[in-house]
Point group: C2
Chain length 286, copies 2
């Protein structure tokens, strides 16, 4: 398979679907819709929704079945980035080389654009009802999964732990738990939602979840390694490479990617894309 072509084809499908779904910049309140579109179309690689589409194809389904869900995950991801960048949390002025939402639109609009993107995320998933091939029961289950994986026990809880953890006392187990919540959870639900809407069985769901947790952790550790190597950020909080060194962190990433691939074995050759994807997300440049 042509991995790069698969990625760019799917990215293009997602970009178009997001553009169709989101309110135009001309519709009032103009500034809110501008802010929503600014962050949604600011160079994201669409990794999470691509995982959703790939899951449908892995399970022999057409991507149309999960496209609204995939867009919903990307919108929720965008919400979380805007709020994370706000002065009261990470206080980041730039993301992907562009000024963050609050630098362009001010804090109040950035806050409300983030809120609105979460609502739009749920709304996009709810549009799945328009496709008669998708079962209502599956949509409700997928929505519950999203609420669980972005909620207080997972993504949002992980963000809270990330900013409240006591630096001195933190150990590897804490770091892995925080990474699993704040980063791996959304990746897991991108896969699980795609699987549920595609009619996956329990064994397949479990395998994809294990894959998602492993690549999610590896993804976050890689992010931290890149940050340390480029020295782009002040070291505001402890990270895996800061605590264990770059060499050991790279060994951990390799181990996680290997485990991720083992989880895919039940799918055989059909999981080729997901297998390549595991290598891809830890080899990326930022």
């Amino acid at each position: 398979m042509d991995f790069e072509k698969y990625l760019s084809d799917k990215k293009s499908i997602i970009d178009k679907a997001l553009d169709r779904f989101l309110p135009t910049e001309e519709s009032p309140p103009v500034i809110l819709h501008k802010a929503i579109r600014y962050s949604t179309f600011s160079g994201g690689k669409r990794l999470r929704p691509i995982l959703t589409l790939a899951t449908a194809e892995l399970l022999g389904k057409e991507i149309e079945i999960v496209l609204n869900f995939a867009c919903g995950i990307e919108l929720i991801h965008t919400f979380s980035l805007i709020h994370d960048d706000l002065p009261c949390i990470d206080n980041d002025d730039f993301r992907r080389g562009k000024p963050t939402s609050h630098k362009v639109f001010g804090e109040a609009i950035a806050l409300l654009a983030g809120d609105a993107l979460m609502v739009l995320g749920f709304e996009s998933i709810l549009k799945s009802t328009e496709n008669r091939m998708v079962k209502k029961q599956a949509i409700l289950k997928a929505l519950k999964e999203v609420a669980y994986y972005i909620g207080t026990e997972n993504m949002l809880g992980g963000q809270v732990e990330d900013i409240t953890v006591e630096d001195e006392r933190i150990d590897g187990e804490d770091l892995r738990r925080i990474y699993r919540k704040k980063t791996a959870a959304l990746i897991c639900v991108a896969l699980r939602g795609g699987a549920i809407l595609s009619g996956a069985d329990q064994k397949q769901l479990k395998a994809l979840t294990s894959y998602g947790e492993n690549i999610g952790l590896a993804f976050q550790i890689t992010d931290d390694i890149i940050d340390i190597l480029r020295d782009q950020r002040e070291m505001k909080k402890p990270t895996y490479p800061y605590k264990y060194g770059i060499k050991e962190s790279k060994i951990e990433v390799e181990k996680l990617i290997k485990e991720a691939k083992v989880s895919l074995e039940i799918f055989g050759k059909k999981a080729e894309f997901l297998s390549n994807f595991a290598d891809y997300i830890v080899s990326r440049e930022k």
Copy 2:
């Protein structure tokens, strides 16, 4: 009917259901769950979820059918209050006589607690699937209504307009539009969601929506009158009584309440509670 008893009985049912639904303060992350419970149990009168329960009873259904939805609306309302109070928006230090979330927990936790309350709101509504009397189709429709009424065309859009409107140019039409979005929309969907889950027909839905819009507007104008009379706040932005005077504002409120009651006529005597409720919310003390 004993109006006050109806209110307090329903409030008690909602308080208990919220307590059962929300994660305990002991479950990690403790500070996030403390913040979520602090704002949820800080003296709210539960007006919106009471409207949901009353709608079910108006339509001859048991309140159990809509209780999860009602709690979801209250959690979403709580999210919107926490974010509204933040320094970048209204910068309020007190709400209902208690320090606001960011004064107690700091801005970062208040922000994330607000985010989590929106997720919990959707999650509570999704719990409606556990009641076999509720149709899946109706739950999905109710969820779509929530996304629409709190989204960029309604509640969140109204908040944006509220902070970006040019004070000099604003006219009565602008103010009514902003009030309809930022205040009436959530009241409307509290009624509409209750109605949809109770199997209302189009005529009933339309009547309840008109009732909700009218009491929502009246509620917001009354709020502004109270603020001016008590002189509690600096006049940060134009309001109805500020622009038209207290006398004309009170006449407008009376007109809106009258229209709200006209909308209820199709329900006959069964709408007694909602009719009394219209008088109640404009007579309240803050």
